[in-house]
Amino acid sequence: MGKPNDPEFQKKVIRAAFELLEASRGPVIEDFPEIIPVKEGRMGYALPPELVLSVSDIGDVDVILSEVGNEMEALRPDYAAAIAARGRTTVGASGLAIEEFAPFVASFLDGQIPKSPRKGMPAIPLLKLVVEDLEAYYTETRTHRDSIDDLELMGEWFWEKTKAGRLLLLLEAVSLASKNKVMLQIVEMSLMAPRFWSEGPLPGTSAAGW
């Protein structure tokens, strides 16, 4: 729906859509004439296929949690500034507090499915929401702080450079080795880490879900 924070462009898109109602017959399908470029037809960042971790990379979970916690704490003032500027945040779909995101994700790293802390929602669907909350915390902060409007740059930073991204890649490794069908499905179908637009499926999977 156009570009963020560009009301005139957004209204141009809406007006173009509404003008289609004036057609004398239908159905009608039209392309909006202005194209917002994306890389190689992708609508989101794609992890490089060679960037895959294994369960042997996990090491000391407490160290991982400490690193992610420090990283998140360092971002907190800018996250607060982003909320103040936008008047809203999309973080929080999971219903967990920000401090709970990383510990909940890490609780899967031993290969067991933990008990869900949210009543009425099983642990694995909750995990997916927490993963997205965690990423949103980082990306909302940086889009505001550094005015980044480049999905490739943002994805590369979060997934390849941050400790939180590494935590999620370790979770992916655990999922891949899991005997739990749903855990395996969420990596097979690229429902957790962005592999859908990658050049080939995640190694060790057939991408059969797609």
Partner: protein
């Protein structure tokens, strides 16, 4: 397009409507507009959408504290994070109503899980349509994601 995405998309079936009616719209300045989004957006605290949800969520025109629980992670969400009007353009429609381009913005707007098969949503879609009729909506703005 990379192989995984290409294979998935090339296997999708294109639905071709065969039994439709083409209704003459009301004049633009008489439109009362309601949005239907497939972005699985809902009010904070609402029940999150399940992965293949058939149901819908209702968003009031004044709601701005919205979250997204769409199952797919492959689409860029940074625009939505920066400006909800990229998904649910409530502010833009309000401005267009204030300028007289449309008559009014409906009180209620609706969201579905776009990853689910629309055929399974018929019951919910009919319920939404009934609510729209009750509210006097004469124009529906479908915004896929």
């Amino acid at each position: 397009m990379p192989a995984v995405g290409r294979r998935f998309m090339s296997n999708l079936e294109l639905t071709v409507p065969t039994n439709y009616s083409w209704t003459k719209p009301v004049p633009a300045n008489e439109r009362r507009v309601s949005i239907v989004s497939t972005a699985a957006v809902s009010r904070r605290g609402d029940k999150p959408f399940s992965w293949l949800a058939k149901d819908s969520r209702t968003i009031h025109k004044t709601d701005r504290d919205l979250v997204m629980t769409h199952v797919a992670v492959e689409f860029d969400r940074s625009a939505w994070q920066q400006d909800l009007n990229t998904i649910i353009p409530l502010d833009r429609l309000e401005e267009m109503a204030a300028d007289g381009e449309i008559a009014s913005v409906a009180d209620e707007h609706y969201s579905f899980m776009g990853a689910a098969d629309p055929v399974t949503m018929e019951k919910s879609a009919r319920a939404v349509a009934a609510q729209m009729k009750e509210e006097g909506v004469n124009t529906v703005f479908l915004i896929p994601i």
